[in-house]
Symmetry: C2
Subunit: 200 residues, 2 copies
């Protein structure tokens, strides 16, 4: 009757799978240890032996839901930047984005958790944007001084701010265009260099 008792990795996977399902169905707020245990066909002890608390489990499950993507390479900085912002916009306004926000809220300022959220990590974001910018510099579209994490990530930071301030709904595309044209591009073409084509 009782199928063979799972342990180790097999059980861990079952728990994570259950957590992922709960997370997608009910969000982090609905992720309860009892439900995960029940869904995984085990009990809370097995969970607490692996993760110290609910948040840690939630973060672990969330990470399974996201996959790294390649930076765009359209040959035009403006298009690359817009594409990155549009991706972020879609993600943040999707159900997954809602979960991400819940997790960030639950983490409060606990950097040990925040660092595990890919969209949250400065390094991940900086790397992506520096890649795109680096190509633009090579093409002569941006000044080499712009190859600086603080400068490179300006656009995505501004977009994230939109979500923090305005809440969930998708930012209109005009906002993204404005961020790129009013802030990002003027900034990376820095200091009167003025060599690129004034696109649009």
């Amino acid at each position: 009757m009782t199928q063979t008792r799972r342990r180790g990795a097999a059980l861990e996977e079952a728990i994570l799978r259950a957590a992922v399902e709960e997370l997608t169905e009910s969000g982090y707020a609905g992720l309860t240890m009892d439900k995960v245990a029940q869904r995984a066909g085990t009990n809370k002890n097995a969970i607490y032996r692996r993760w110290p608390n609910r948040l840690a489990l939630g973060v672990a499950a969330y990470r399974l839901l996201t996959t790294a993507v390649q930076p765009p390479d359209t040959g035009d900085l403006r298009e690359d930047a817009l594409e990155l912002l549009r991706r972020a916009n879609r993600h943040w306004s999707s159900p997954l984005g809602a979960i991400l926000r819940e997790l960030m809220a639950a983490a409060g300022g606990a950097t040990e958790f925040l660092a595990q959220l890919p969209e949250q990590s400065t390094d991940t974001m900086a790397a992506t944007w520096l890649t795109v910018l680096g190509r633009a510099v090579a093409r002569g579209e941006a000044a080499p001084e712009a190859l600086h994490p603080r400068v490179a990530t300006v656009a995505i930071v501004l977009l994230r701010n939109e979500f923090v301030v305005r809440g969930a709904p998708t930012a209109p595309d005009e906002v993204l265009v404005e961020i790129v044209d009013e802030v990002f591009l003027p900034l990376v073409r820095q200091r009167g260099i003025d060599r690129g084509t004034p696109s649009l």
Copy 2:
């Protein structure tokens, strides 16, 4: 024995005062309805007749703790900007800033609460920065095109991002300087105008 029973405004003030004390002593996490009621010498009913839930009470109490300040006017845009960032830096890394972050976390994306937090409201921040920038434009230190909420608030948004990403500790002054010199000033002197003195 029983002093005269308070009602209306008097009782409301007593509750808010108690909430403020709990908030400063124990943070939002430690703000329980029972403790507030007890401290105010009343009971939870009186609270729930006035605020729909704990978060609303927390936000109301927090607002009593903050006071609006005047934008600086040193006669130099760079100094004004740094001063604004330093103020924000102090606030965010103070106990009050910790409470603010707790409240924002508890609010999740609920804009109806977020809008009530002064440091959070786009309007408040934009107004302050536009004032400072407006004076700089009048002085010829910044381009008139910079008088745009998205551009004007870039610096403070970047600083807030530091707190989101790095957590509570005070940002080093170099970060503020970097934000101002690498992002804010180049941006507002926009499009190769290049008339100001390159301060520092």
